[in-house]
Amino acid sequence: MKNTNGTTRNFCGRTRREFLWETGCGFGAAALASLLAGDGVRAGEFANPLAAKPAPFPAKAKSVIFLFMYGGPSHIDTFDYKPSMVGMDGKTIAVKTFGRGGHKNEGRIIEPRWKFKQYGECGKWVSDLFPHVGGCVDDIAFLHSMTAESPIHGSAMLMMNSGRLQSGNPAIGSWLNYGLGTVNDNLPGFVVMLDRSGGPISGAKNWASGYMPATYAGTVFRAEGSPINDLSPRAGSSKLEQREVLDTLGALNEQHRQSRADNTDLAARIASYELAFKMQSHAPEAVDLSQETVATRSLYGLDREQTHDFGTRCLLARRLVERGVRFIQVYSGGAHNDHNWDAHGDLVVNHTKHAGATDQPIAALLTDLKQRGLFDETLVVWGGEFGRQPTAEYAVGTGRDHNSYGFTMWMAGGGIKGGVSVGSTDEIGSNAVDSPMHVKRLHATILQQMGLDPNSLSYFFRGLDQKLVGVEHVDLIAEIV
């Protein structure tokens, strides 16, 4: 029973686990557990739904770090070099755009506000906003012809995170958790680190597991205080105290279980308390940056106010990769307006701020992953939910509206070719012209690098085999792998 992709599936493409979830939800828990028994789960063992599963295909990457530039960075001011725009500033031209201001047929050109320089052996042109990242271009694959279906933050965020414009679908991190599980029981498999200014719009919807069990949802991880909600015992109570509680609880639960031994959920719940106890020490250890050298901290810019916050999250991301976390999303920018890359007002002020906060830490992350031998197995993705228009949003000023017709993202590490650029936008960056790439192709490439087949990884829901990339076949971006 092989399908054309070579993966083995049962009826209607449902895998065994999906079958269990689907029927299991309306199913006595005991019954479910006994079915799972075939998975090698014995009574007394924790049947962790996040247990690591072997990737069905050879995986290039073990982890993904998605550096999410929330708000939408301007591609023509960062990595999409448009020399022919020089001298066009202020000129009103005919160009079709669609942003939050609606559909327009003409606009006033805002020339890229930063100078570009060539970097690396590949000679990639990068703007002065990203001098540090410029130094890494030989390791990066630039995707210049990205397209998305919405130029509105709410739905565009959902598309970048879950592949759909509609709310209610699992995020890509949930898909990876579902497809691969986690190799570290003591940490969540899908971690989200937010900007200090707040979450992105739609908040938790961006890392929700949608129709999958909440087990697969992202966990918000914090750099300060308790990294995970409800992780720490009540203030003033010690770990030993908690141990006493757990021992008492375990003994009583064991008595209760004696006459109900066939219900493996009871044993699983006992085991889950032990796992929770272990998380209480492992998660704080993961965020303990005092273990890092001064040189490393300085590399990430922890010693500078401008880069401290994002640098901290990047450094944490590396530490989580080392500890086997599967998918880590790091937000640059939060809340609204100029707290993120949404440069509607003053482009220069906005992008100077956000590029200034992220350039050094991003380069540090790539460098650090390399020097630790993690680069090849860690896929780094950079980008926002869309790019920005070449023209001005208002009659006066430099602000740019959203642009989902063409924008730039980049990937590095995890088996991605370095020093390459794929696709292009037109001369002013308004539209993807050469090999436009839908967000789904980015998702397909991420899944593929992680050892999953994007066109067969499915979850049966509402009578359909739901897939991250949708029902129609999606090609990965072959030029960069």
Partner: protein, 805 residues
Amino acid sequence: MYGSRLLTLFSTALIVVELATLGYADAQVSFVRDVKPLLARRCFACHGPDAGEGGLRLHELKSAVAELDSGSHAIVAGQPEESVLLARVASTDEFARMPPEGKPLSEREIEILREWIAAGAPWEKHWAFVPPAQVEPPEVKEKAWVRNAIDAFVLARLEGADLPPVPPADQRTLARRAYFDLTGLPPSQEELQQFLSDDDPQAWERLIDKLLASPHYGERWGRHWLDLVRYAETNSYERDGAKPNAWKYRDYVIESFNEDKSYDQFLREQLAGDELDEVTEETIIATGYYRLGVWDDEPADPVQARYDEWDNLISTTSQAMLGLTVECARCHDHKIDPIPQADYYGMLAFFADVTPYGERGDEETNSQWDLSPRDESDQRKNLRKAIKEIEVEKTSMEEVGIKRMPAPDQRLTETSDRQQVLDEKLERYLNPSEWELYEETLARLAAARKEFDALPAAKMALALGTCEPHPAAIHIMQRGNPHVPGDEVAPHFPELFGDAVPEIPAAEPGARSAGRRRVLADWIASPDNMLTARVIVNRVWQHHFGRGLVRSSSNFGELGTPPTHPELLDWLANWFVAHNWELKALHRLIMNSSTYRMLSQGNERALAMDPTNDLLWRFDMRRLSGEEIRDAMLAVTGELNRDVYGPSVFPPMPQEVLNTQSMPGKGWGKSSAAEAARRSVYIHLKRSLLPPLLTAFDLPDVDASCEARFVTVQPGQALTLLNSEFAHERAEKLAERVSSERADLTAQVARAVELALNRPATEGEIAAGRGLIARLAKGHELTERAALETWCLAVLNLNEFVYLD
């Protein structure tokens, strides 16, 4: 999930198939029950709707008996020896044997196929797509066990399999089971004692009557319905704005259950409450049903968004009420169920008069219904319109000035700082005559608003405030693309039902709606609809027993799971309709059966024969839902506020959770401590900010209809119950309660167990509690009170507290 797990998958499939026949002593092979599921599980992946390897597709009769690429035939009706299918599945040659992977078919399975082909390979309709059979309860040997017809159906299967039912559970266990089942709350100690000391042989029946009469019954069973209709009180997306008065729909649901409204009427009111012969406030509030879904106030493609909204409605309605998943047919004919694409759009056509939830800036016109007297509401409507017009004038004047401002200021005018910018700067950017006109407009607006405010407060409902009485024609959208219309379709019922296309006259001039939803409602809520009654009795069964007779309770199609007890399902459906669709009568019937009263503990023999309890030889344990866990914690501490109905409440939300919002705290109110202790069903459901305790315990995603909740076990749950502020406060309160009710420590320790578990504490538990308290006091220098609190926390974390026998 791939490869290595397949073996177990197939053995699972095997169990399912064999159990389907297990217990049918004189079983004749049934195509629907035995053959089709077998073919589907083992063959369709390569020889089904999506693939026809070797020229064989087994999902339809025509292709199943057609000539293969090889020139032979897989199935020759009546001639097993000529049928290559049999030869291939029975082959001992590993390379020739089908299926190529997994365990070979069992002898019994091969025999099923042989018997079926020998009998002429009858290709019957899918079990759910024929009307419920008129069946009589079967004869059984152990007549004393049979309290009602349910028991006869269950016992007949058990006797056929030589698998005796386990003994009944004790009264205490039964009481706890019944209280949680019907009200979602544990019994208080007094209530429990009252029941246990009741010597009346009808004590159990009386208990059930009492619980069904409790207002908490509607809270518990209404919540099941709210899962199905993906009830939430906000729109999702960027602003996740509130849906005002959504709570009235929630109360409507709870009240309908409490009143034991007949189920057919319940459906009619939600689908067509504004079009019924007798339209009341209640039936209008019921149409809030149409306004519960997600709604993007700023869609990238408004046409697509409109069809997505309809899709959400169609999928919710068809799944929740008909047990059908029709969404596949949005883009193409359903591949397995006989649902052509035209049926999807024919269904959509019934909803053609349902307007979008709103438009940005106006979420009232379409979705709020003014319930006040007509002249009052008209007056309000006219004034509202006038105010809106002046506002538009005002805004357009402001935009003149804004366009002259620097970009950063322009940007600010699109944020919450708009008014501030206007106050400070607008005058500078308008010329004097423009400014004068602007000030005049402001004055007019103030006057109109004042007049509006002087009107009596409106009584609004979330409902179909505005409909489209003469909707445009509905077309099939090619490949589901709403920009590529194909043939026009009239409202019609899915063809698999075989019902005539209804004639619906165009609405009369002045009508407020198209009159189509009433037709759909009457059809769905009809005793002749072959799915409606089956689907609801199965859901009721599901919530009593932890899973339905049909496990896929929103999918009765061919991709669903066949019923474990098909005759019982049909019998219940017929019985329910004959009993006026009354849910409370159905609860009584089920709970008064011996089947419901069995022990949850298993025995080795039964576990070996039927580990998944498909034959119902015992009662399955279940874990409490998130709502039940929270409510039970509040109940045992004595804090639970048992008020019923009313606007939603906002229990404290941890700051870290609020910080995940783009505007931390936005849309989350503050309720008094008493209000915060209301039952979970009254907690405000904000789509992007769901209560963490409830989501930890599998509150479903509220964007799509949920037929059954997941039951996960994960360490996050332990962290929540051990460390959350909520858990600690409950532990403190429990300690406070037991300290006030009992004088000495031992009695306090015991009392905590008794309150939480509805049974006296054992010696061992008391010793464990005393031991823990002593160690904490001595080794960790806790006060005795603090140590007692910790014991109470432990008790609230016990497996026995969250798992029900």
